[in-house]
Symmetry: C2
Subunit: 239 residues, 2 copies
Amino acid sequence: MPSLEICFSPDLLHLYTLENKKVVVADILRATSCMVTGLACGVKSFTPFADLEECRQMRQKGYLIAAERDGQTIDGFDLGNSPFSYMSDEVAGKKVAFTTTNGTQAIQKSGKGEILIGSFLNLQAVTDFLNASGEDVVVVCAGWKGRFNLEDTLFAGALSMNLVNYSINDDAALAAKYLYSISKNNLFQFLSNSSHFSRLKKLNIQKDIEFCLSLNQYSNLPKVINGIVTNNYEGNNPL
Amino acid sequence: MPSLEICFSPDLLHLYTLENKKVVVADILRATSCMVTGLACGVKSFTPFADLEECRQMRQKGYLIAAERDGQTIDGFDLGNSPFSYMSDEVAGKKVAFTTTNGTQAIQKSGKGEILIGSFLNLQAVTDFLNASGEDVVVVCAGWKGRFNLEDTLFAGALSMNLVNYSINDDAALAAKYLYSISKNNLFQFLSNSSHFSRLKKLNIQKDIEFCLSLNQYSNLPKVINGIVTNNYEGNNPL
């Protein structure tokens, strides 16, 4: 029976073996939600960068450049970290160079194996793919600057509940599952006390948060191939 | 209002500021439970060692030597990691040199400030001390070899629920509080699926586990002073 493990922070990745496993990266508020949305709506690819300046230089190569730090769009960049910016005709067909506080860093730290991009928006697509693969899974929560966060944990918990025939011998996965089971009927309300929620509320992006917590808006499953995020399969996008 | 933060693993301690804060270290199964029990029952002190051989050499200096790795007592040592071993007349008045898989390492990584030893066995004593101090608190969960574990998290959650007039802006503390709130009526049952529980069950130490999960058996509050764990205040031990 394949195993499911959850890594609560990129700073704990040294404790996990990622080889020969499916790795799912989640940064619910908002990097992986943006990637799923963008790719479902026609963005060609996202190239993650940890460094702001490296990302900025990609404009010269014809990329749209997107940057977020501490929840806010950086001056001089075309796009920030709101999923709604990635739905427009102006981004469709474009390649996006993307750097965020947590999510893009988590992707870069998650090794060279098979990395999938997870969010509530494509939960069912992630679930179906993993259930069909029957392979060991590690969910990497992007967290907040290395620390545990609730929203990524709840996504991991939702995945733990959805996967069938997986063994859960991992306390992090058990905790995530319990937390999702008590919150699933109202994720927004449950997260209203969380640290990241408070941070983002100040930025007036309640609409972003509500959208990022909505399940199965899209059926695409983005995958990281040679450091670039593209749709692994497209399903019928958007649903 | 003072703040409460929870660090789920010693491997995340670099993300926390410990200066001018009260640090509570918890390794529920079983290092900190043993220390609280021993000191309540007359052990003079515990000196934590990360290294097995350094610990072994303390016998020459008149210490009882205690060592656990992966849940089991190490051959050639006087004592292991069962709280019941620390209740006998043979250990009363003695100094103990102690090394365990997680707990003693967590203490050594928790800096040079004011470090308190927490467990369910002395939960009320920890609570009272912190409520009276009104200072910022970081709870350091020993975890399992750097990974998140449930039992230390539940202790941290219990503390989060008991502290009054503390602000909780930390997702780890919120998660711990939620997890404790759904488990507090039957911690043993709740933990029966946890990774460490399964590991320890194989070793036939169910009695240890039940004891370590029982609240307020003692009212002492051990503290680490110059690297040595002794009773900070004794209250009426044992209750």
